[in-house]
């Protein structure tokens, strides 16, 4: 029933390791987004996508890559994880211009990099 799901929900990684966070949406939205949320702050945009095969840099893309293999799936990749990337990551989908400008969020992934 949940329209945007994320996996894993919790992840502990080691410094220098590779981490992949996955997101799936059943809203059939063209746009998808990855954000991070740090204590006391709002969400900050890392990468986004207009559709399958497209990825765009957001406001804080350094240290992150993204992949959009299909309409439904959008991944965030940390090739060399660092402790500064410890955060909660949210995926969202939206259809700006057609379905309204709001976004629909997943439950989040809590990532700890040791």
């Amino acid at each position: 029933e949940a329209a945007v799901t994320q996996s894993p929900r919790n992840k502990v990684a080691v410094t220098g390791g590779k981490v992949t966070l996955s997101c799936n949406q059943t809203n059939n939205h063209n746009n998808m987004y990855w954000y991070r949320q740090d204590t006391g702050h709002g969400l900050r945009l890392i990468h986004y996508s207009y559709g399958a095969g497209s990825t765009e840099k957001g406001d804080i893309p350094d240290g992150y890559k993204a992949s959009r293999p299909s309409q439904e799936n959008f991944s965030l990749i940390l090739e060399l994880a660092t402790p500064s990337q410890t955060s909660v990551y949210f995926c969202a989908s939206g259809e700006p211009g057609l379905g309204g400008y709001e976004q629909y969020f997943g439950p989040g992934t809590r990532l700890t990099v040791l």
Binding site: V4, N31, Y33, G40, H41, G42, L43, R44, L45, Y48, Y50, E56, G58, F90, G94, E95, P96, G97, G100, Y101, E102, Q103, Y104, F105, G106, P107, G108
Partner: protein, 114 residues
């Protein structure tokens, strides 16, 4: 560049009291505006949205917000709060573009005392 300011990081009210959470925005033009709520360990849920027309918009669970172009504000209100309203509330702005990129305020932590 656009921005959103939520001047109150924390607000505490008693159950049954009225509530106002403040939001000021900076944007050249009339933006699309949203209030989202985040309950502990969950993703963000849309409370209400403003696109145009009547400056007072109604949302879920008795929340409403009033848009003021002259004051560049979009304050959230509720006549009588319940303990279950305790959460983090985000004021969010969207420009009129197909990127759908959102700008978040830092959030206001609402605590409702029984």
């Amino acid at each position: 560049a656009q921005s959103v300011t939520q001047p109150d990081a924390r607000v505490t009210v008693s159950e049954g009291a009225s509530l106002q959470l403040r939001c000021k925005y900076s944007y050249s033009g009339t933006p699309y505006l949203f209030w989202y709520v985040q309950y502990p360990r969950q993703g963000l849920q849309l409370l209400l949205k403003y696109y145009s027309g009547d400056p007072v918009v109604q949302g879920v669970n008795g929340f409403e917000a009033e848009f003021s172009k002259s004051n560049s504000s979009f304050h959230l209100r509720k006549a009588s709060v319940h303990w279950s309203d305790s959460a983090v509330y985000f004021c969010v702005l969207s420009p009129h573009t197909n990127t759908g990129k959102l700008t978040f305020g830092d959030g206001t932590v609402l605590t409702v005392k029984p």
